[in-house]
């Protein structure tokens, strides 16, 4: 066993973790950062194919962008956050976000420059266009330039450890050797990202809600777990499966040809992109939810037979027009991708394969981001003394829908959480964990069993339940089936066994850790989804389309009581903007009335 002692332990490997670690170290504390993958190469961050921004005034003042759009004020950004959250976001956090983001973004841009990476600023939207690898390179550079931070990569954390109800470290294992690593720390920051319990993956492979699971077991709560964001993701051709290209291809400024969307039987799926539903330059990401809503209505009609699948149909265009459009798109991506490619995908080959398949691209909605997560206060404290959380692992900032700003979120929250954790550690002592032996025994138990189910099989069954009942369109009946299925899997988890007794790169063992967290996240999310008999943000219910601010203007909060989930509701606290109690007939109407700014 390897033991590490530090003031502040940060768990995670992307933006929130790196900024938290840097902030804590600059506050004068010793810091260790531990991640299950590699810093800047794992987590949702590396999949980025879009942009991130702050208000125009701050972009000029903090980030040296003289052309930034001054009409995009701090107040507009704040209002956008409040309305996009469908009012259940924490307005205090949203206000802090507007204030905390500019210096955090400015620091990242400094790392970008030092590391020789390229981001492109779009002045009208006050956003930087970026790709995941340069973003990851900048983060790696930022971390490396703080040499005092101890970094442990490829180390899978299992649980936060506690003493007298306060966090006092965490433990896990080196995935290559299987050696147990015990971190003794005065405070812990969880920055591990979101959870994605679906078979169609468009992100890094292991977005398994580890931080949420660890926080819950340590005594913290989770909020808004029913809200998951989805975007168009390639299903076929297989070599391109999981790519978020369809989302980019739906942006007129990025790809010329406008596809007709159809279901698998060729019936058109309609989305009125003009008039009431037309989005402005600062609101383009609202389209993600509008697409789920409008296309989803048609896809839902054949859910039992076709499931989560539809076509981008380019049959209105000639072969040459399609190939030329992909060539032009490839050219626009050459700053970040190899010639002719978008990540691994050869774009001319994709164009030819679309032409060969009756000019259609087969797409599904893939889970991109989880709005819900660990419940935190304005200092990103979880309620468990010494335990903090930052980034996608948290809930509260984006409520029911995040329309952009995910990258900014992690930078801003990482800074604040790092400061808070450092301040806590300054007044704390290292303590011996009370629960280490019991938690280690749980981790090792599957090696001592035989004939139990494999974590790999349980994970596949979890995906199947969530694909059907927890996806971008939902109904009470299917949610209830999925909830019962996930509950049964969680019971079965107690009897899993492993095919190999080796601890060296044992995938089933790793999956057992992640599956436990993902099951818990899915169960909490499905419970809230079943209780929330309305639609709100990304929670689209076919059987309850209305956005009901009269009866459902609150969040569901889950925690563990004696190991079993317990639930309560929480109304928005002391809102800075008055709450709208209107009932809207559906999510699209609510978006048109409250989020979009019409000329």
């Amino acid at each position: 066993m390897h033991i590490v002692e530090t003031d502040v332990l940060v768990v995670g490997g992307a933006g929130a973790a790196v900024t938290a670690a840097v902030e804590a170290q600059e506050s004068g504390r010793s810091v260790a950062l531990v991640t299950k993958g590699r810093v800047g190469r794992s987590g949702n961050t590396i999949m980025v194919g879009g942009s991130f921004g702050i208000d125009g005034e701050s972009a000029r003042e903090y980030c040296g962008e003289p052309e930034a759009n001054l009409d995009y004020t701090r107040e507009r950004l704040f209002r956008k956050l409040v309305t996009s959250a469908f009012q259940i976001g924490n307005q205090g956090m949203e206000r802090h976000f507007v204030d905390d983001a500019p210096p955090a973004v400015a620091r990242l841009l400094g790392w970008v420059k030092e590391a020789g990476q390229k981001f492109k600023f779009m002045s009208k939207a006050s956003r930087w266009r970026v790709s995941g690898r340069p973003f990851g390179n900048a983060l790696r550079h930022g971390l490396k330039s703080h040499e005092a931070i101890e970094v442990y990569e490829d180390t899978m954390m299992v649980d936060v450890l506690t003493s007298g109800g306060a966090a006092c470290g965490a433990f896990g294992f080196d995935v290559y050797t299987g050696e147990i690593v015990l971190f003794r720390a005065k405070s812990v920051v969880l920055a591990t990202g979101g959870f994605q319990p679906f078979s169609l993956q468009n992100s890094i492979s292991d977005m398994t809600g580890d931080g949420v699971g660890m926080a819950l077991r340590a005594g913290a709560s989770a909020v808004d777990m029913e809200f998951l964001l989805f975007i168009g993701t390639i299903l076929e051709p297989q070599y391109a499966r999981g790519s978020i290209l369809p989302y980019l291809l739906s942006i007129p400024a990025m790809f010329g040809p406008r596809p007709k969307m159809t279901d698998l039987d060729g019936r058109e799926l309609s989305f009125p992109t003009e008039g009431r539903y037309k989005v402005g330059p600062a609101d383009t990401k609202v389209n993600k939810l509008l697409m789920s809503y409008f296309y989803g209505k048609g896809i839902w009609k054949n859910w039992d037979t076709h499931g989560n699948a539809f076509y981008y149909d380019y049959s209105a265009y000639s072969d040459q027009e399609i190939l030329d459009a992909f060539a032009k798109f490839a050219d626009s991506q050459k700053t970040w991708h190899r010639k002719g490619k978008y990540h691994r995908i050869d774009l001319q080959r994709l164009g030819r394969d679309i032409i060969a398949d009756k000019k259609r691209l087969k797409v599904g909605f893939g889970n991109e981001y989880s709005m819900g997560g660990v419940l935190v206060d304005a200092n990103f404290a979880t309620g468990v003394p010494g335990l903090f959380a930052a980034g996608e692992v948290t809930g509260g900032l984006f409520g029911a829908f995040r329309s952009g700003d995910g990258l900014t979120e992690m930078l801003a929250q990482g800074c604040t959480a790092g400061k808070s954790a450092a301040a806590y550690a300054a007044g704390a002592e290292l303590r011996d964990p009370e629960d280490y032996a019991a938690k280690l025994a749980e981790l090792e138990a599957p090696f001592g069993r035989a004939n139990g189910a494999s974590p790999a099989d349980l994970l596949a069954r979890l995906y199947a339940h969530c694909d059907r009942g927890f996806n971008f369109y939902r109904s009470g009946e299917l949610i209830a089936e999925a909830y019962a299925g996930v509950r049964a899997l969680r019971a079965e988890f107690g009897n899993i066994s492993l095919a190999s007794s080796s601890r060296r790169y044992n995938l089933e063992w790793m999956q057992s850790v992640m599956l436990r967290n993902l099951l818990l996240c899915a169960e909490l999310g499905l419970h809230a989804a079943g209780e929330r008999k309305e639609s709100r943000g990304t929670h689209l219910r076919a059987d309850h389309p209305e956005v009901n601010n009269r009866d459902f203007l609150f969040s569901y909060v889950g925690s563990l009581q004696n190991g079993e989930p317990a639930y309560r509701t929480q109304a928005p606290a002391e809102p800075l903007l008055p709450l709208d109690r209107n009932v809207y007939p559906n999510v699209a109407e609510c978006i048109a009335s409250t989020i979009l700014e019409h000329d």
């Binding site: 987590g43 076929e236 790169y505 995938l507």
Partner: protein, 95 residues
Amino acid sequence: MKVRIQKSEGLVSYELPNFPTEVTVMEVLDYIYAHLDHSLAYYRHSACGQGICMRCSLKLNGKNVLACAETVPGDADLLLEPRGGEVVRDLVVAS
């Protein structure tokens, strides 16, 4: 599809149904792990699957490739071996 894998305990042969289209090597490994051999070790944690993180390299028929980015015909016969370096287990090499 027939796939031979140089595991730590020796060369193991797997018979898979043919895939209808070209597939990535990662998809082949995922199939074997999910349906035929839960003990197989191949690079799969925090994997991007998009050719970005560059960590899933191995030898396909003697040539170094990224498992997630390399496509093969759906009925191919494959030999998969660990790339050069210290083998952790099966196809996983310390990085």
